[in-house]
């Protein structure tokens, strides 16, 4: 057996090995992360698990009584900074029906 045949055999093995690395299903789940950046302000950043940005996505700050305290949109950096409301509230990242993320004020860390 010459070197050329052996190289072909190795190429064949490599091809079979590559065929085993199939494409994986990429999910497109939304996420939203909120942090208190100073005593009076909160910054929320959003996006999608496939790496997509969330510029222009609606982000509402809603009181526990369902009153909308702030109706905003994420900026070009997929984030929004707003004044921390008084009382109990939650942040709703709303990228459309079924693509929402709720962040309770109790889950907002420093």
């Amino acid at each position: 057996m010459n070197t050329w045949t052996m190289h072909n055999a190795l190429r064949g093995l490599l091809l079979i090995a590559c065929a085993g690395v199939g494409s994986t299903v990429q999910a497109h789940s939304p996420f939203c992360d909120c942090k208190q950046i100073n005593p009076t302000q909160i910054r929320c950043s959003g996006g999608f698990s496939d790496g997509g940005d969330a510029a222009g996505v609606t982000l509402d700050v809603i009181g526990y009584d369902e009153n909308i305290l702030l109706h905003g949109q994420l900026g070009s950096d997929s984030s929004l900074t707003f004044d921390k409301p008084a009382g109990e509230f939650y942040v709703l990242f709303d990228a459309g029906p079924g693509a929402v993320v709720e962040v309770d004020h109790l889950d907002i860390g420093q």
Partner: protein
């Protein structure tokens, strides 16, 4: 005149000798390896086509207002990490024949929804076999409930809940383990 005296054939290398000796067996091995994955492959094909049912573990029929929904765990396993979106769990569902034309949207989430807008993940697919990816809240506990929200074309909204212990024991076990790690 002897040609080998002019152009002598080099002796095969050690690797070459090894290849010549074992190439037949290696090729047989390459044919046999995929056979080991065949049962899993056919099980997955049956699951994705729906031949093996709604999912790996059927939860049962759930009455949601005037409508009925058959719910199942797509895979009988713990939630899977989906990058920055956190841990997710897939459920599948089928609407009853009578309600197919009456239900506009089916939502699913862990914990009671505050409003229709925050009703959770939307089931996608045909009414006979829909799939939803439900995020696991960071503060979810083993006694949490899975809430189903059905929105009708007539504007009505109906809700029902299933204890997570009934809907997904694998998720409950995972939550208990995660809780212990905190």
């Amino acid at each position: 005149m002897n040609p080998s005296a002019i152009n002598p054939v080099p002796a095969p290398s050690k690797l070459n000798r090894w290849w010549l000796k074992w190439r037949f067996h290696l090729n047989i091995l390459l044919l046999l390896i995929p056979l080991g994955f065949m049962p899993r492959y056919f099980a997955d094909v049956a699951l994705f086509r729906g031949d093996s049912g709604l999912g790996e573990r059927e939860v049962g029929d759930v009455q949601v207002g005037p409508w009925t929904l058959k719910l199942a765990e797509f895979r009988n396993e713990a939630p899977q990490l989906d990058g920055p979106a956190g841990y997710m769990k897939h459920f599948s569902a089928a609407l009853c024949e009578r309600c197919i034309n009456e239900v506009k949207a089916t939502y699913l989430r862990i914990g009671k929804p505050r409003s229709l807008r925050a009703a959770g993940s939307l089931f996608e697919g045909t009414p006979h076999r829909m799939i939803a990816e439900v995020p696991i809240p960071k503060r979810a506990t083993a006694d949490a409930e899975l809430w189903i929200t059905l929105e009708g074309w007539d504007g009505s909204m109906h809700q029902a809940s299933v204890p997570l212990t009934q809907a997904s024991p694998a998720t409950v076990a995972w939550l208990e383990q995660r809780g212990a790690k905190r």
